[in-house]
Amino acid sequence: MGFFDQPLTVSHYLVIGAVLFVMGVICMATKRNAIGVLMGIELVLNGANVNFVAFGSKYLRESSLGLDGQLIALFVIVLAAGEAAVALAIALNFYNNHATIDVDNADELKG
């Protein structure tokens, strides 16, 4: 009960952002599927976005970033869309050329 009657703070959001971020990092590190790695990147960006929105929220903090937080979050979302398009194109090209989607096989430049 102690948790639910407390008002929200920025720290609450930061913890969620941290969890999403770390999950994304682990996802990027462990997945062998190129698209799985891409999903990890999305999670990382999303975790960062949670932080931006939390710092920009007038509701959570009296002296907030204001609009800056929300606008940077918007930019992150839009850039993530572009990033996903390019990364997906790379992944599909890789799949076409190597007939696999396993990133461990992308080692042609290895000496």
Binding site: I16, A18, F21, M23, N33, I35, Y59, L88, A89
Partner: protein, 199 residues
């Protein structure tokens, strides 16, 4: 249970946060790539709920529209194009799991301790009661910010408004638009079907 004492903001925060984190963990620990995509959809959707709670409704709707409705559909599209039997679930070996979990856990501890290290962050806003999220009404301020007007800082002094960083986001907005155009063309170029000269 004292229902009246519940701060409903916190309650819904906990709800959305739980969904977001559990399904983010689902993304990490599932080995089936299509299920990963589905979990990611739910996780990002719940995050949009968190944005709504923080009063950033436009960002939340943007998250639903672009991230969940656009980017992830694209991702799932990619998944389906490459979803052959042997690529659907690819296992990671144990050693990699151990290493990445240790690193990730250490990172998580660091970030969480940072989150609670600043008093200003961990103390609630005293105006929260009277503020209310409904009045945030941020869509038009965000729009004005994108075309170069900072209507949220109108109480600043005359000199401060002309200081760098106070003039809105028109320039980054234009740069990002052009960037996106380039990305679109580049992605379409890379993903097109290539006809080999020999074939």
């Amino acid at each position: 249970m004292l229902l009246a004492a519940i701060n409903w903001q916190t309650f819904f925060f906990a709800l959305f946060a739980l969904v977001a984190c559990v399904f983010a963990a689902g993304v990490v620990f599932s080995s089936n790539v299509v299920r990963m995509a589905f979990y990611l959809v739910i996780s990002l959707g719940a995050t949009a709920g968190l944005f709504f709670l923080a009063g950033a409704e436009f960002v939340g709707a943007m998250q639903l529209m672009i991230y969940v409705g656009g980017t992830l559909v694209l991702l799932i599209f990619g998944v389906m194009l490459t979803a052959q039997e042997r690529f659907v679930s690819m296992k990671t070996n144990g050693a990699e799991w151990v290493v990445s979990l240790v690193v990730g856990g250490a990172f998580l501890v660091l970030l969480v301790s940072v989150a609670f290290s600043v008093d200003d962050w961990s103390s609630p806003n005293p105006n929260q009661e009277k503020l209310g999220v409904v009045e945030a009404n941020s869509a038009s301020t965000v729009g004005a910010g994108l075309v170069g007007l900072r209507v949220d800082k109108l109480d600043l002094e005359e000199g401060d408004l002309q200081a760098p960083g106070m003039s809105g986001y028109l320039f980054p907005f234009v740069i990002i638009s052009i960037h996106l155009l380039v990305v679109l063309i580049g992605a379409a170029y890379m993903a097109r079907t290539k006809r080999r000269a020999s074939a």
